[in-house]
């Protein structure tokens, strides 16, 4: 009797297990389609002929393939200027930010440092409360940083959140290594450079990637502080093209019907693709660092 009941249980359980699996797979496929479709649609439109794009006939399969839109975008000197500005902001911003946060995080990981609590409080408060958009804007203006790429780098260079990730990591390293180095006569600079930094490579990689992504994607600071066309970063340049119908070359407005045979939407879409390409290409290889950073941060900041 008992074994019969058990068998009954096992069968019922097996069925529910299968149902859940099947349902999960189906819904996940739906989720993948929903995620990928808008991107693939964009790519397809960027390489399709004007007639098809304007009529809304393109789903994810391109028709009348031409790379004219890409030629149009990639020969625009403004695109490359914007790219140059973005690279400057991203690289300088990342270098400065990682250096500043790592140094501060290391110093604050030393529990005995006098005044540590007050410094922590100062950084935490700055993370949770801000003067807001307008006072910051007026400060940048006072400092003469309007229309300077540094206005996009310096205000966000220190991140309390990233500093805390680093601090927690340094705190987790075994104290004995550093103490024995101390006794051997090493100073903090040497210990930091030769012992702590090499041990912190994984978390440094994560923070560096966070900084690169936020530098590449930075839009609002450009919108706020930069008005000169030649100083626009990629995201601001792109926003102008998508939402204000600016022409990528800056020379004329692409009308809906024009001699070039390009749909305006194709050119816009090609610019979007060019801007998102580096993220899409590099991200899968770097995913594990980014995810581990997210997990680190969610456990306890």
């Amino acid at each position: 009797m008992i074994s019969a009941a058990r068998r009954q249980n096992a069968i019922r359980m097996d069925r529910s297990e299968k149902t859940v699996k099947l349902l999960s797979y189906c819904l996940l496929i739906l989720a993948l389609v929903v995620t990928l479709f808008p991107m693939l649609n964009l790519v397809a439109k960027s390489i399709s002929g004007q007639r098809y794009v304007a009529a809304g006939k393109i789903t994810i399969i391109p028709h009348d393939i031409s790379f004219g839109a890409y030629r149009y975008v990639l020969t625009a000197s403004r695109f490359w200027l914007a790219m140059k500005n973005t690279l400057f902001v991203t690289i300088m911003g990342t270098l400065i930010s990682v250096a500043v946060c790592t140094l501060a995080g290391y110093a604050l990981s030393k529990q005995r440092l006098p005044g540590r609590r007050w410094l922590m409080l100062m950084f935490m408060f700055a993370m949770l409360f801000s003067g807001g958009m307008i006072p910051t804007y007026l400060l940048i203006k006072e400092l003469g940083l309007l229309n300077s790429l540094w206005s996009m780098i310096l205000p966000g260079a220190f991140s309390t959140y990233n500093m805390l990730l680093l601090k927690n990591y340094f705190e987790g390293l075994p104290a004995e290594i550093e103490e024995s180095a101390h006794i051997d006569g090493a100073n903090y600079v040497q210990i930091f450079l030769r012992i702590a930094l090499p041990l912190a490579t994984p978390v440094l990689a994560t923070i560096t990637l966070f900084c690169i992504v936020s530098g590449w994607n930075a839009y609002f600071s450009a919108k706020l502080y930069i008005t000169k066309q030649e100083l626009l970063t990629l995201q601001a340049y792109l926003a102008g093209i998508i939402f204000e119908s600016a022409d990528p070359t800056g020379s004329f407005q692409l009308s809906a019907n024009n001699a070039s045979g390009l749909a305006k939407q194709s050119v816009v879409d090609a610019t979007v693709v060019c801007t998102m390409l580096p993220v899409v290409v590099f991200y899968p290889f770097l995913q594990r660092f980014l995810v581990s950073g997210m997990v680190l941060g969610s456990v306890k900041g």
């Binding site: 529910s16 304007a54 500043v100 410094l119 409360f129 006072p135 879409d269």
Partner: protein, 309 residues
């Protein structure tokens, strides 16, 4: 014993000399925070002034709380406040269940390479900027050749002006935000799921609990504190969220339903140069946001023994 003591003393004296180095390590961070965080916080004084850029903070007259009083009788500010609350609450409604369900489903995939691929695709939109996401959705939903409207018209329906119709625009905001973030939101849940003791599932299996019961009675309770943390974090961000997304995607035809505090502050502050008034609105936002974060964190610490910081 003696040797140990001298060693320790020596270590202490080295440490004290070395603290100077550590303060130097902290110097760049302190300088940046003081300049770019604390000076603007001090600059909030203009929220209590009738600030004039030519007279500066010293020369402008103080008006007390007049700017704040003005805000609460300004229909546009009240509209922005209402929209901020509505849009962010609406997002919250989906932000809690969607990533949770996605995580539960991802957890069902046993074949690792497939699981990794699914995760990679679902996480990707998180790394695209709002400008790009805005561009993707504009291209998808536009009335001029967008594939969604093409589908609607071919089904005999009227085209929908997703981007200029106020009510539809809110939907676009919420769903494009979910498109971007729902996958990424699964990470915290997936991390918590791996921490569940497998013995619990085995025991339930022997007792004949169905898969549904095991999810409902083991997995979900195990995720409860994570769900609450996510909820608290979002509540703390109730006023600050959505600003950049809306700034990128909105236009004057949808101000009625989509103008939020951030975008309103931007327009009257940067656009119309009403520095004092916009600072007062910004300060209201910062103070309420701060209070929300501190309160939710205190609640988390009290009841869940976990805190955001």
């Amino acid at each position: 014993m003696q040797r140990d003591l001298t060693l320790r003393r020596r270590l202490r004296s080295i440490r004290q000399n070395e603290y100077l180095t550590l303060y130097l390590f902290l110097l760049p961070a302190v300088v940046l925070v003081v300049i770019f965080c604390y000076i603007p916080i001090g600059g909030l004084v203009i929220a209590f002034q009738d600030f004039n850029i030519f007279q500066g903070i010293g020369g402008s007259t103080f008006v007390g709380l007049a700017n704040f009083r003005k805000a609460f009788s300004d229909p546009y500010f009240l509209r922005a406040l209402k929209n901020t609350l509505i849009i962010n609450s609406y997002k919250l409604l989906y932000w809690i269940p969607l990533p949770l369900i996605l995580a539960l489903m991802i957890n069902e995939i046993g074949f690792m390479p497939l699981r990794k691929t699914v995760q990679t695709v679902l996480y990707m939109p998180h790394f695209l900027s709002w400008v790009i996401v805005g561009g993707i959705f504009t291209s998808l939903l536009t009335v001029n050749g967008g594939v969604v409207n093409k589908l609607l018209t071919s089904l005999g329906m009227k085209p929908i002006r997703f981007l200029t119709d106020g009510n539809w625009f809110r939907e676009v905001l919420v769903w494009s935000a979910m498109w971007k973030e729902a996958g990424w939101g699964t990470i915290v849940y997936l991390a918590a799921i791996t921490a569940v003791d497998p013995m619990l599932y085995e025991a339930a299996l022997i007792d004949g609990a169905s898969k549904w019961r095991r999810i409902w009675n083991i997995t979900i309770p195990a995720l409860a504190s994570t769900i609450v943390i996510v909820l608290m974090l979002s509540l703390g961000n109730l006023l600050g969220n959505s600003f950049e997304q809306i700034l990128v995607m909105y236009n004057s035809t949808v101000y009625d339903t989509a103008d939020v505090i951030g975008t309103y502050t931007y327009r009257i502050g940067i656009g119309q140069m009403q520095y004092s008034y916009s600072s007062a609105i910004g300060m209201f936002n910062s103070v309420v946001g701060f209070a929300l974060v501190v309160t939710t964190n205190a609640l988390c610490r009290r009841f869940l023994d976990r805190s955001i910081w």
